[in-house]
């Protein structure tokens, strides 16, 4: 069934879109897009670790990204630097360390472009399993922490006062972010994963008036982006990651038409 590389890419991409849709809404609501970027940059280090020690790529990326998230939390507590400076520090230094390590691994031929921008040819049956199994777990966990996470996104103190334990939900969500990056890195590429999280969610915001609708449209937007993106990647021989993101951007631009109308209605 998965003999054809294109079918494999499609099945993998659909799995990713189902997960990035709801997660992406929280990334937009909680203003975590730069945080997502930092985790994604650190994924390069995870990939090099995987090659160096012959580990599963997704697992290795997940471990490194989670470690970077923990380091960030520690740095936020111990230094007086603003959050965005710390994020930049971690993003660029982990990317640089990853690239330097690649330089040392002369015995392995790396497809850097594939790593940065995604490669549909690289998706194998194993990856499909990782994406769908990992994605299912991510969605189940997200469903379990939905109430406290959503409540604390609206207002931290209300959630804390009314006994929802928002700190725990936030910590779990951070791990989910690392996990979604780990399962989608091969397909979308590390430079563009955050785009896959935020662009469909941003599009959905323009056409939604409730959180549930926004999650729903965000999933639909992600699915359409993957399908349109992969077909055009095949058609025009472009990298899969950028093609998917360009498709997402096109949907976002279309959604702006809706915003213009509703602003007119208000005035």
């Amino acid at each position: 069934m998965f003999d054809d590389f294109f079918i494999r890419a499609l099945v993998a991409g659909i799995g990713i879109a189902l997960v990035t849709g709801p997660l992406g809404c929280f990334v937009v609501w909680r203003r975590l897009s730069y945080f997502g970027d930092t985790l994604a940059h650190s994924a390069l280090l995870g990939v090099t670790m995987a090659y160096s020690f012959d580990l599963n790529i997704a697992l290795s990326v997940f471990i490194i990204s989670s470690a970077i998230a923990l380091i960030l939390i520690q740095l936020q507590k111990k230094t007086n630097l603003p959050g965005d400076a710390l994020l930049g520090l971690l993003a660029h230094s982990s990317l640089a360390v990853g690239l330097v390590v690649i330089g040392f691994l002369t015995f392995i031929r790396f497809d850097i472009m594939g790593l940065l921008f995604g490669d549909i040819l690289a998706v194998n049956t194993n990856d499909i399993f990782t994406i769908w199994a990992g994605g299912t777990i991510i969605l189940i966990v997200l469903k379990l922490i939905w109430k406290p996470l959503f409540a604390s996104t609206v207002n931290y103190e209300l959630a804390e006062a009314e006994g929802l334990n928002p700190d725990r939900a936030k910590a779990i969500f951070t791990i989910l972010m690392a996990a979604v990056i780990a399962i989608s890195i091969k397909m979308v590429g590390l430079l563009l994963i955050t785009g896959m999280l935020i662009i469909p969610a941003a599009m959905a915001r323009n056409i939604s008036d409730s959180p549930q609708k926004m999650v729903f449209y965000s999933i639909i937007g992600g699915l359409l982006s993957v399908i349109i993106g992969l077909y055009s990647s095949l058609e025009f021989n472009t990298s899969s990651g950028p093609s998917i993101i360009v498709a997402a951007l096109a949907l976002f631009i279309l959604s702006l038409l809706n915003i213009k109308q509703s602003i007119k209605l208000k005035n």
Partner: protein
């Protein structure tokens, strides 16, 4: 006093931020069916005390004992981010799943049922305040913490909402920790008053507090006109730096 009725108990509680005490040495009990009101000037630690009672502040001095998890909270300031599309009825079920008829009931009580499907971002300050109060009472809490719950509400609405708060305390038999600037309400609807100014200046029944000179010093002539207050001895004065000097 039956200790089984206590919902939250503060023992000599205080909170320090960046080396500065926001409030210290507060002891109070909120019991079932009783309204405890915190009064005091700006920056006297009223909201801080409420947040200590709610467990929002973690590294506190002293201790808090909380005997209920059914809590409703109306914060003084709430900033909602409009990157979130949120309608009034989404907000009502924020921390607990509440049945639709209970949502309607609570919104009717605070007079904003017509706003149920409106976007939160389109509400006026007073309307939003009514929604906040409706949300807090709709979950039928055992403990209600209301931090200036009627700010921005029109005059007649204010009176009606205070009557509602009193009624809720009776019908739900819940304990209420109320922060208010409206001394009329405080003195008529409250069971126990705590007057704060970085520490507890005086506390007791409204009648006792009104007679207290500390109270009079803090609230001045107007407060004295509202209530018949008689003079008694200062035992300490507050300097401009906020220090307390014993006489």
């Amino acid at each position: 006093m039956n200790s089984n009725n206590i919902l939250v108990k503060l023992n000599n509680a205080g909170f320090r931020q960046n080396g500065k005490w926001l409030v210290e040495g507060v002891s109070l009990n909120v019991e079932k069916g009783k309204i405890v009101t915190l009064i005091g000037p700006n920056g006297s630690g009223k909201s801080t005390t409420a947040k200590i009672a709610l467990g929002i502040y973690k590294n506190i001095e002293g201790s808090v004992e909380k005997y209920t998890n059914k809590v409703g909270y109306v914060p003084q300031k709430i900033s909602i981010d409009w990157t979130l599309p949120l309608r009034v009825h989404d907000f009502m079920t924020l921390t607990e799943n509440i049945k639709d008829n209970e949502i309607n009931e609570a919104l009717t009580l605070t007079g904003v049922l017509n706003l149920k499907n409106k976007n939160l971002g389109n509400l006026s300050g007073g309307e939003f305040q009514r929604v906040l109060l409706a949300r807090a009472i709709s979950k039928k809490p055992e403990l209600l913490v209301l931090d200036e719950p009627v700010q921005g509400v029109d005059y007649t609405g204010e009176i009606a909402l205070y009557e509602l708060i009193k009624k809720i305390s009776d019908t739900l038999n819940c304990g209420i920790l109320l922060i208010s600037h409206d001394l009329h309400t405080v003195m008529t609807a409250t069971d126990y008053v705590v007057c704060l100014n970085g520490h507890v200046c005086c506390s007791g029944s409204p009648h006792d507090v009104a007679k207290n000179n500390e109270y009079k010093t803090l609230f001045g002539e107007q407060a004295s006109q509202i209530l018949s207050v008689y003079e008694h001895k200062h035992d300490h004065v507050h300097s401009d730096e906020g220090n307390i000097k014993k006489n």
